[in-house]
């Protein structure tokens, strides 16, 4: 048998051994790598390692973990410190270099700093930062493995910003306080150090704002909140919230100056904004005398405003001169030009008065002014004893007090400055204040005998019924007050040298009022009502004058008023003029409405007097006396006094009207009880004199309400009134008796009167109608028992125009009774009119065979009811009275 060759592979032994070899390599490499990567250790000493944990706390650089705390133990030499061993990854070899700084990062939350918030969750960590970002320096640094940790976060070298040192005298800014430029935070205070000269602050300005800092930038402290209260007002300002807490520093840089790009440059930190520019605006005054000026308190004034301080005083014995160093405020610096003049103001008491009043309290001070707007500046001046002799004309003003006016304030005319107040002093002899004003030559013609001066305050408000007057002077006068000149008549003579200075415009105007040449009159009255001083005098609605004053004349027991009528209206007053009081409100109430009348609103409050001039009469002289009437009505008409004897009670009262044919002709003045009888005194207008005849009938009318009508409804409001029916007599009478009932309305009327006899009155009464064919032709005028008392006699009045209807055979029947016919066909109700149902009425019928017209006072019978055929009568009757027209 053939045998196959069995090839055996000898090499298999070797292949297998690859595996352990590979394994060895791999294992070895893994171990090696593991230990190699472990990194190296560095030791950092912390003052406070709270929050750190072994195996947990990381070392972070720029947010990357590059190591971990592997051990923590007390420092061998100083037990207050902790040595923290950090195992750093190999890749972060650069950590172990001299110059690197380490610090603990923990959450910080305050008004000035918010940082490290991520550590709230992740735990604190250690931060590392190289000393500088300069790569050259970095390369040159030596390795180091032990470090001391910083107390606080160092400056971020990658965004260092500009570091500046500020020198200040006191420490009131906290670390972290903001640096503000135009109220924007551009950096912060990093550090503060006490030195023997004061305090040094290190501030950092963010990189992007570096260019704002210039070589002559100025830094000053800003307190959180600034409150400046002065007479001009209160100003509260705040830079930022952070500065309120931590203080702050503000910086400003003049435009166009060089950039500050050097790190660690040094500046001075000023106390506040007012202390800046300490070296600017300095001028020197040379004088012969020091004048006892207290430089701490003394100021320099310009037109009464504080313009600067006197900062130094130096006496030079060689030249025997005193030099003052003055620092002017920015606003005023430009005024110290080459034409400026400085003088010292000292209190002066001499024979002619007291000068320099302000200096008495403040001590001597320096004042200056300039006459030109020249831009050429000087910085050395002579200090004079008095201001320049002003160019212009001098005038004197006299006033009762100085009104706190300051020397130098302006004299204004029509809002143009025409001069200024030079000085003022107390006159010794008459206790008045004399003011010396200077008016520029070109304006001196404005002052003449008609001129008056008054002081203008900042704002003057005068509100009255004439209108509101608001005057705001120019801005300077708002601060300084000003003297205003008013010259109403430019053509007047100029002889006066002294003028009166009045306190304000209102006083001035009041003085002016009576100066225009009007007239003054006297009014006499019993009752002033609400008139008072200043009350207007009104003519045809125009205010033409006012009440000047009034007083009670003790002898006549009357009030006398002095009034003034302005010139342009004074010729409206003549001897026939009547003045009357229009104070308050006049109310006339009637059913047609309530009428409210007042002369003017002012007269309600202030009272008022009006006048009327009914006739052309002689002019009156000044101080003529007039009577002041109670009211308009008293003036309008002349009245006649009459009296009534009252028979019955009524609701008449004072003011009740007397009416004739619905025209008001008078009114009741008063009711008097004499001997148990009521006498009514009334007045009637003179024009109605013709009513006051012997047989005129007066009676009271009051509201009457019945089912079918309301009589005198207006009396509901105005009360009862007296009505009059004119009599025919021509005899004038002043005494009447007052009837309680109205007379028959038909009395004295023209018409036909007839008599009817009835068995009973039934519902007939005076005024009951008489009908013919249902048209009223007359009324019952009166009635009474018949002579034989068997019946009632009624007097009928038939109207003139219908009197032709009454014939000898006319039949009269009582139309009151209602005819009611009840039958199988229905109820037939017949009546003449509704009123006859109530009041009764008489119907007349004329039979077809017309007879002659009835005579006056013919007697007829009054039937109780009509008969059937009477209604059928249709006679033809012709009206032959041409005076009457029956209009349809």
């Amino acid at each position: 048998m053939s045998q196959e060759a069995v090839v055996k592979n000898k090499k298999s032994i070797y292949i297998v051994w690859i595996i352990p070899v590979v394994a060895m390599i791999m294992a070895g490499w893994m171990i090696f790598k593991h230990y190699d990567e472990k990194g190296f250790d560095i030791k950092i000493t912390f003052d406070d390692a709270s929050g750190m944990a072994v195996g947990k706390t990381a070392l972070m650089y720029n947010g990357i973990k590059i190591g971990q705390v592997s051990n923590m133990e007390m420092h061998p030499n100083d037990i207050s410190k902790i040595d923290v061993t950090v195992t750093v990854e190999k890749v972060a070899q650069g950590v172990a270099r001299a110059g690197n700084v380490f610090w603990k990062v923990e959450p910080k939350l305050s008004l000035t700093e918010v940082s490290g918030l991520s550590t709230i969750l992740g735990g604190v960590y250690i931060g590392v930062m190289p000393e500088t970002s300069d790569p050259v320096k970095l390369k040159a640094s030596v390795p180091k493995y032990t470090f001391e940790a910083l107390d606080d976060t160092p400056i971020n070298i990658f965004n260092p910003g500009l570091l500046i040192y500020l020198h200040a005298s006191t420490h009131d800014i906290k670390v972290g306080a903001p640096i503000m430029y135009r109220k924007m935070s551009i950096g912060k205070v990093l550090d503060s150090k006490l030195t023997d000269k004061g305090v040094d602050y290190t501030i950092q300005v963010n990189n992007k704002y570096k260019s704002l800092i210039k070589k002559d930038s100025q830094f000053w402290k800003i307190s959180g909140m600034e409150i400046r209260a002065s007479l001009a007002g209160i100003r509260v300002s705040m830079e930022s919230l952070a500065s309120v807490v931590a203080g702050g520093i503000s910086v400003s840089s003049p435009i166009g100056s060089e950039l500050q790009n050097k790190d660690h440059s040094e500046y001075k930190l000023y106390k506040d904004i007012d202390h800046l520019n300490l070296n600017k605006n300095i001028i020197t005054l040379v004088s012969n005398d020091g004048y006892n000026i207290d430089i701490k308190a003394a100021h320099v004034f310009f037109k009464g405003s504080n313009a600067g301080d006197i900062i130094a005083l130096d006496y030079n014995p060689a030249t025997d001169k005193t030099t003052f160093q003055i620092k002017l405020k920015d606003k005023f610096y430009h005024l110290a030009n080459k034409d400026a003049r400085f003088w010292i103001v000292e209190p002066e008491m001499g024979l002619n008065g007291v000068n320099g009043l302000g200096a008495i309290t403040r001590g001597p001070y320096v004042s200056f002014e300039t006459t030109t707007k020249s831009k050429k500046m000087k910085n050395k001046f002579t200090l004079y004893k008095s201001p320049a002799k002003a160019i212009g004309k001098h005038f004197k003003l006299v006033a009762d007090n100085s009104f706190s006016l300051k020397d130098g304030i302006n004299v204004i005319h029509k809002n143009i400055i025409i001069g200024s107040l030079r000085t003022h002093k107390l006159a010794r002899d008459n206790n008045k204040v004399l003011f010396d004003i200077v008016v520029a030559h070109k304006y001196k013609h404005l002052i003449n005998n008609s001129s008056s001066f008054y002081i203008q305050g900042a704002m003057e408000v005068d509100a009255s019924f004439e209108g509101m007057y608001l005057n705001i002077g120019s801005i300077t006068s708002m601060v300084n007050s000003g003297i205003v000149l008013k010259t109403p008549d430019l053509k007047a003579k100029s002889t006066y040298k002294e003028f009166l200075l009045v306190e304000n415009y209102k006083t001035f105007k009041n003085n002016q009022y009576t100066k225009d040449g009007g007239k003054t009159f006297t009014l006499v009255t019993n009752d002033l009502k609400s008139v008072k001083s200043g009350s207007p005098i009104i003519y045809k609605g125009i205010r033409v004058g006012k009440v000047l004053s009034f007083y009670l004349n003790k002898t006549t027991s009357e009030v006398e008023l002095k009034i003034y009528i302005k010139r342009e209206y004074s010729d409206q007053v003549n001897s026939s003029t009547n003045f009357f009081n229009v104070s308050g409100v006049e109310i006339k109430a009637g059913l047609n409405g309530v009428k409210l009348h007042t002369s003017s609103f002012e007269s309600i409050v202030n009272g008022g007097i009006a006048f009327k001039t009914p006739l052309k009469a002689d002019a009156v002289k000044n101080m003529h006396t007039f009577t002041l009437y109670r009211d308009k009505d008293a003036v309008d008409e002349k009245y006649i006094d009459i009296s009534f004897l009252m028979n019955e009670d009524s609701s008449l009262k004072e003011g009740s009207a007397i009416v004739y044919k619905s025209v008001n002709i008078g009114q009741v003045k008063e009711l008097k009880l004499i001997d148990d009888e009521v006498i009514i005194y009334a007045i009637v207008k003179e024009e109605h004199k013709n009513l006051l005849v012997k047989d005129s009938i007066f009676w009271t009318e009051d509201v009457e309400m019945s089912i079918d009508h309301i009589k005198n409804p207006s009396s509901i409001i105005s009360g009862a009134f007296i009505k009059v029916l004119k009599g025919n007599s021509s005899e004038f009478s002043k005494r009447f008796s007052l009837a309680s009932n109205s007379p028959a309305p038909t009395i004295n009327k023209k018409g036909l009167r007839v008599l009817v006899k009835a068995s009973r009155l039934s519902s007939l009464k005076v005024g009951s109608p008489v009908f013919y064919r249902q048209i009223q032709i007359g009324k019952v005028e009166g009635y009474g028992l018949s002579k034989d008392s068997k019946g009632v006699e009624l007097k009928l009045f038939i109207d003139e125009c219908y009197s032709y209807l009454v014939r000898d055979n006319s039949i009269f029947y009582n139309a009151t009774a209602m005819g009611m016919d009840i039958s199988l066909f229905g109820v037939k109700v017949s009546t003449e009119t509704i009123s006859t149902m109530i009041h009764g009425g008489i119907t007349m019928v004329v039979p077809n065979n017309v007879k002659v017209k009835a005579q006056e006072m013919k007697e007829f019978k009054l039937h109780d009811a009509p008969e059937e055929d009477w209604i059928e009568y249709t006679p033809e009757l012709i009206n032959d009275n041409v005076g009457c027209v029956n209009s349809i």
Binding site: V16, P20, A27, G55
Partner: protein
Amino acid sequence: MKYKTDISEGKVLCHLCELLHDDKEHECSQCGEKLHQRLPDSLAQTWGYLLAATLFLIPANLLPMMVVTAMGTEDASTIMEGVVYFFHHAEYGLGGVIFIASVAVPVFKLGVIYYLLLVVQFKQHDKAMGGLKLFHIIHVIGKWSMLDIFVVAMMVSMVQFQGLATIETGGAAIAFCAAVIFTIIASEKFDPRLMFDNEVIKEEEVK
């Protein structure tokens, strides 16, 4: 002691289908596989894999098995550190299991195979029966060493809360895996019949 072995009886066992043949045959009549008296290169291969496993066990114990990152802090722990941790927290059961599965068993396995190899090398026939029993034991429990890896794998896949807690495998996991796999292969490559042979069978060179 002399054993009746297949060599002494002149028989050969197919290592694949286990059909008995005469030692004259070179090919299995049933499955066609080449007939080997003993597993080829058994000793060499076993030694090789055993050494690899041993080598891998070193990093498996030195490197961290699991890196737990909780709240920003990393915590890497090796197998032993894990066991100690559990024992420290009185989790004796858990600690015990991990210790047995990750430390005791692999070491035991390696030790046994070393012993068996030495038995063969030094013809310690009297130890053969005991060795056979040991062989069977490690043959069965070998795979259970992967328990620890399984635990790590589960933890890694479950605890992935970015920011709060994450678990990642450390280098030891791979090394341990390799070690366990190699011990399994090593035990597979070892032919226990070698312990009963009088002589070390060398591969015949067939004419």
